[in-house]
């Protein structure tokens, strides 16, 4: 008789707990497997400080929004060109504004850097304060997290740049507004995790209830693996699985081990005494942007595969960052390049950075597409990846024609392969409200400053 595994089965040992990917043993009858409807996962990515395609010249050159709307659009001239292999999974919504990121009072003018990130997923206008009385709105990811079902980690908040600044960051705004894009309530911003080691331990490490100091030490030893700690449990489970499940389990554990090895290599390198590009960063943080982002993406993929969480927010930058992205083909630092003075040759330089950032998403989409979900479809079929910024033209600090796209099919609820150009002045919140309804929050009739809802399956 087939042994039926619970979806919440974990491999345990020495205080460590590793969740499992979907296995046929969790629904042994073929009919039951076919009836399984995987949950819809959400990843919300903020790439800060607008895009070259939001400038007048960028619009004219189709640097962000493709020239054509509907299903026949060409990504080649756009910053989204690296996503061409995933064009049928894209829903591009262009020509929308984030009015709530604008200044409404004289004292707020100039504070765009310190306001925008808090607006992105809340579409609310943050209260200008440097104290603890911060207020914005409940963010889109958290609204969905409350509906996405119970998982060991209700939602995961990640970031790339430093987020540990205290007090005010500028123009009377608390640094919290710059540091976090996820708000559990209008007054409760959630901390973002920058260190992949912390995220790994949160998901797979020996840091849960019952973990011993020995287990923690062992899990972090450079020459040891979390898998060593659950070896007996894994062997016991293997003996009860069919061939296909055994292969799937091995592949999954290989992926866990592979990312753990990368993490250990980064830590060893950063603790070696060699000069670091990011000397103040924790040992688990790779100095290289690609390596850092991809490690975080791989953790997200594993977290979805094992159903540890269904909701991730990921802040990829910081407005005032002077980071250089060698892989972009632009050798200037981010913030100065973003202030291109409206000059065409400089806008083109900024566009290279925008395209480079989007190219990182192609890596994520590829990983999601290549990962099988419970019903035999892919994680990309059952996910939505949201990408954008509350800033438009970074040079002017305006919030018009903001960059935004979605990728994935949301369990069949998003057809994808479409470019929707909104009428001028349309709030981005209308697209976000459309997404929230797509994700099952049908009763919502307003989000932020929405004055309508965009049908994300329209414009075909």
């Amino acid at each position: 008789m087939a042994h039926i595994l619970s979806r919440r089965t974990v491999l345990r040992g020495l205080g460590a707990a590793v969740a499992l990917p979907w296995l046929d043993a969790m629904a042994p009858a073929r009919a039951a497997a076919q009836a399984v409807r995987p949950p819809v996962r959400l990843i919300a990515l903020e790439m800060v400080h607008g895009a070259a395609g939001s400038t007048a010249f960028g619009v004219q050159e189709h640097m962000w929004a493709p020239a054509a709307t509907g299903t026949s659009f060409d990504l080649a001239p756009t910053s989204l060109r690296a996503l061409a292999p995933f064009q049928d999974a894209l829903t591009i919504v262009s020509n929308t504004d984030c009015a709530n990121a604008e200044a409404f009072e004289a004292g707020e003018i100039g504070g765009d850097h310190f306001r925008s990130s808090a607006v992105f997923l809340t579409q609310a206008h943050p209260k200008r304060t440097e104290g603890a009385d911060v207020e914005a709105g409940t963010s889109l990811d958290q609204l969905y997290a409350a509906r996405a079902g119970d998982t060991p980690v209700p939602s995961l908040q990640l970031c790339i740049e430093p987020i540990d600044q205290a007090g005010g960051c500028g123009y009377g705004y608390s640094c919290v507004y710059t540091d976090s894009i996820s708000w559990a309530s209008p007054t409760r911003p959630l901390p973002m995790v920058r260190d992949p080691r912390v995220a790994f331990d949160q998901l797979f490490g020996a840091f849960g209830a019952g973990a011993t100091p020995e287990a923690r030490r062992e899990s972090r030893a450079v020459d040891r693996s979390i898998l060593d700690m659950i070896l007996a449990s894994a062997q016991s489970l293997r003996a009860r699985l069919g061939a296909a499940d055994r292969a799937r389990l091995s592949e999954y554990l290989d992926h866990v081990r592979e990312i753990e090895r990368r993490l250990q290599a980064v830590e060893a390198r950063n603790l070696s005494g060699e000069t670091r590009a990011l000397p103040a960063a924790p040992a688990g943080v790779p100095d290289d942007f690609d390596e850092h982002v991809r490690m975080m993406f791989d953790l997200q993929r594993l977290a979805f595969e094992s159903d540890l969480t269904r909701v991730v927010s990921f802040k990829l930058g910081r407005d005032n960052s002077n980071r250089v992205y060698p892989g972009s083909g632009c050798d200037g630092p981010f913030h100065p390049v973003s202030h291109h003075g409206g000059r065409e040759e400089k806008i083109r330089e900024f566009e290279k950075i925008n395209a480079y950032h989007v190219s990182q998403v192609a890596y994520l989409l590829g990983r999601l597409r290549d990962t099988r979900d419970a019903d035999g479809t892919s994680l990309l079929d059952n996910s939505v990846v949201l990408y954008g910024s509350a800033m438009g033209d970074s040079n002017r600090h305006n919030h018009r024609k903001v960059p935004f796209f979605l990728a994935g099919h949301a369990g069949g609820r998003l057809r994808g392969g479409t470019h929707i150009r909104a009428r001028s002045g349309t709030p981005l919140a209308n697209a976000m409200l459309g997404l929230l309804r797509t994700l099952g929050l049908e009763e919502l009739n307003q989000f932020g400053d929405s004055d309508g809802v965009i049908d994300l399956n329209g414009e075909r």
């Binding site: 604008e102 004292g107 509906r147 123009y171 309530s185 202030h339 009763e443 929405s450």
Partner: protein, 258 residues
């Protein structure tokens, strides 16, 4: 030279210099107000220009990084000019020859009433002249609430109409009942039904802040007991709050009937 790395080290808000400009031409009163004035250098620098107009005379402030400097000047037809003193800027690198203490400056240009924009230049004494572009401060968007109330999912407004199961906590035991609500705008009407309290007709509001208020009276053995429910919408769509009655304050929750 550029303003790319410009920082305002200090602003000495000294008295404004009022230029001798001949008064002439028509006066556009609508130039008064708050403008987001961008100084177009390598790095566009956003500033706040607040203007008041009396006759053809302009007074106000120019603020960079919230440090205001007084300005004064004149509107002549659609052309404006204001002068100020005390703007002190300093910066590294290519700002080496930027004045390091309070400087005089002049902003002049044209007010476009139709486009509601300003365009012109700012000339810094002993320094460069930059283009400036102004747009009037945007009004808070329709439907965008003021910074929302604590605990409310106020940026995501919902329609509360429908059937709910309500539970009122009475020192550890929960008194269940059926709650039905109808929402029209911010007005709520409905009924709470319970074996002990009978039918309690409710009226109330769902404020833009996210606060739900429902009032009614339970009639038990001929005596009327007023009840006031206050609460908020939770991220999972449920309601929770407090009931105030002669029995004191009790927590309550309500979940939609599926």
């Amino acid at each position: 030279m550029s303003l790319r790395h410009m920082t305002v080290a200090a602003v000495l808000a000294a008295s404004a210099v009022v230029p001798a400009v001949a008064a002439a031409g028509s006066v556009q009163s609508t130039i008064a107000g708050t403008w987001k004035l961008s100084i177009i250098a390598d790095h566009a620098v956003p500033t706040a220009l607040v203007l008041e107009l009396a006759g053809d005379r302009l007074t106000g402030t120019l603020s960079i990084m919230n440090k205001p400097v007084a300005v004064a000047g004149q509107l002549t037809g659609d052309d404006f000019r204001v002068d100020g003193s005390g703007l002190a800027v300093s910066g590294p690198g290519d700002h080496g020859n930027m004045p390091q203490k309070g400087v005089n400056f002049t902003i002049k240009g044209r007010y476009d009433a139709e486009e509601n924009t300003l365009a012109g230049t700012i000339a810094i004494e002993g320094g460069p002249t930059f283009k400036v572009e102004g747009e009037r401060l945007r009004a808070r968007p329709t439907g965008a609430p003021a910074p929302p109330a604590a605990g409310a999912a106020a940026s995501a407004r919902v329609d509360l109409s429908g059937a709910w199961t309500m539970g009122i906590d009475q020192d550890g035991t929960v008194m269940d009942g059926a709650l039905t609500l109808e929402q029209a705008g911010q007005t709520l009407t409905g009924k709470f039904q319970n074996d002990h309290l009978g039918d309690v007709v409710l009226e109330g509001t769902f404020a833009s802040s996210g606060l739900v208020t429902l009032k009614g009276s339970a009639v038990v053995s001929g005596t009327s007991y007023p009840m006031t429910f206050t609460g908020t919408v939770q991220p999972d769509g449920s309601l929770s709050g407090e009931l105030a009655s002669v029995m004191g304050t009790r927590p309550w929750t309500a979940h939609r009937v599926k």
